[in-house]
Amino acid sequence: MDSSEFLHIEKVSKTFPGVKALNDISLSVRKGEIHALIGENGAGKSTLIKILSGVYQPDEGAEIVIEGWRAHSLTPIESAKRGISVIYQDFSLFPNLTVGENIAVARDIEKGSTFVHWREMRRTAGKILERLGVDINIDASLGSLSIAKQQLVAIARSLTYNAKLIIMDEPTSALSKGEVDLLFRIMRSLRAEGISFLFVSHKLDELFAISDRFTVLRDGKHLGTFDEEGLDDDRLISLMVGRKIEYTIFPKRKRTEPVLEVRGISRTGCFQDVSFDLREGEILGLTGLVGAGRTEILQAIYGINPPDSGKILLRGEEVSVHSPIDAVRYEIAYIPENRLAEGLVLRKTMSDNIVVTVLDKISNRLGLIQRDKQNRLAQDWIQRLNIKPNIPEMQTSKLSGGNQQRIVIVKWLARDSKILLVDEPTNGIDVGAKMEIHRILRDLAESGMSILLVSSELPEILAIADRIIVMRRGRIAGQFDGDTATQEMIMEKAILGIKQQVG
């Protein structure tokens, strides 16, 4: 390791039960460098960050070197002591406290002092803000600042820890162009002082505007580290997508009857002027980078956060869906991305989770649930979708990811929904189980169900979607047919060109 490097890691792997999140990663970050970390959802970026910040410990055999100091793993305290500072997406700030306190109170906490030294705190905060060249009132309440300014406060706080490497997770997702410019200006001036950044983002155009080097991760593996000259649009796209499609590719069908028509819907801060058709019996893939607004579209159709303007038509008739209750009445189903927190009630049994949508079907006129009907229904569906283990009374939390996802799907099948809104259905599931979910979805489409499928995994989309819509930054960027599309074509629409730099 040479002395111009701040951080150098090798042979870093991380295995969770059933899944290998990181596989033999190596990474080096130089002093005074802005280093981009690129990869799709699930590529292992957040796991890597957690290892660097000491929240996770890597598998045996890992080597971590920070400015010459060696270790096999880090603790949060050690990591902070060595100069690594992470700014999470929620910033870890206090909206009810002042800017100055948000920046500098950590010093007093560290020292374990009884009293708070306001003058020093203000001086420290003031100096750091000056160093950053930012004009923010120290006494302003943090909650009154824009997100962009709050982020600068978060960076300022890192500097009080004498951070030498600041890791930022999706820092620009809520910033306007002008605010991004300011952030970059500050990052560059800190870089000149020798501070390094590890920058995780999906906004490739911005990454290319600011980064010195890029590391690409895919499926937990390190694909390569490049500097700007070594990377262009095509190379980048091929790196990000170039895996072989291991999935079974299903024959694509051409459908014609629109069952759901979305016309010009917009929602402030989520998406703008989105129009498309979902046809009967088709799987329409909705893809794009994370943060493009795909989940927001699903949630708008399902009534969780309805659009501010535009129309939604169901079989030709305009409908207004104000809540999930309306949506269910219109026979729309929603399989949320966060399966554990939003798709299932983990403490309850498989049987209970399956019938929650069809309580009216299994109860009699008095509103009493007939246990035998419930058991039969649950048993029936568990068998039909081959859910293991075949014990309806088992707690859902004890199932594997793939089986849990099947329960989520099953509860809507029991409802006989006609439109299925699915968000990242195979997230965190192993390959074999993924393919089975694909088969289930295709079978459902065959039998007439219309599926709007959000997925970040391009091979998955290409395997099962009949048509594909690509979103980019809240708008629709392109449409393709499932049989002619390629990963490159999709990626090209999903990102802005590298040469189209920001500021």
């Binding site: 399902y302 969780i304 999930p324 209750i325 949506a327 269910v328 929603y334 949320p336 927190a341 939003e342 798709g343 299932l344 009630v345 983990l346 403490r347 309850k348 209970d352 929650v356 949508t357 309580l359 009216d360 109860s363 008095l366 509103g367 009493l368 649930i369 509860k411 409802r415």
Partner: protein, 329 residues
Amino acid sequence: MPTNKLSAFIRKKEFILLVIFVLVFALMSALAPRQFLRPFNIQSMAFQLPEFGILAIAMMIVIVSGGINLSITYTATLSSIVAAVAISSMGQAGVADWKVILLGIVIALATSLAAGAINGFVVAYVGVTPMLVTLGTMTLFEGVSLNITKGGAISGFPDSFLWLGNATIIGIPVPMVIFVAIVLASWYLMGRSRFGFSVYMIGCNPRATMFSGINVKRVLMGVYLFSAVLCALSGLIMSSRYNSAKESYGSSYLLQSIAAAVLGGTDIAGGYGSLSGTILAVMILQVITSGTNIIGINPYLTNIIMGAILIFVLALNYLSSRRESRKLV
């Protein structure tokens, strides 16, 4: 098969409660055999338990839904006070007794439903945390009650009204009959109906339940309305037994009903609760209060015992759940 069911039952919490009940009962009998085991005392307990048991069920249901209802005792007394005013003025006007009583019951229910609607609205539709809402409504209801009674008690019930709280049907106290009816109704409602099913789901994970298309707001409103109905019935029994209505009656039942729910295995965070467990807990607590009263233990000590039971059970729950999670790691 029978042995499996038996052993499964033994391992369940309800069995432990049954054992505790038997032990406490035996303890009280041993400490004051002549008074405690007297038929009069047994009957007296049977008269007293229902008003408490009904409130405990009302509390359990709200806790299962993920909340808490601090206003149950004042809802009960407010309903009984409003009903009492109506009954006593009607009675003086010479209206037929049974009509008067029926009217009283209807008015009590109407009052409690209004009270429950306030709770339900602010919890379900405005979204304020139940603890704070019911803290406010508890004060509000007490204030309204005091406004009506001016601090005193309302009496002047026709004799036939006393039947509700003091008579027996084939030897079984009327309140106990009412209580059993409520238990059956609650068992169906919570254990067998769609509504009850939804309440349990909401108590575990309101967001996922909402995403599944269940009208969470309506169910929560229903929870507070149902709990209010139970409060009204408890209030009617109390005012019939004491032959008067006052806002402070049954105020000790607030703490006791939470203790009963928790002791009966209800998860204070919501999502899990057993009706039979709560009833067994009610029986245990009732035996404790009656027994300590008979033995001659200062009534103030009873409060201490109740508070201690509550804290003890919660502490036990926490420690055992920590041990469980350590086992998993």
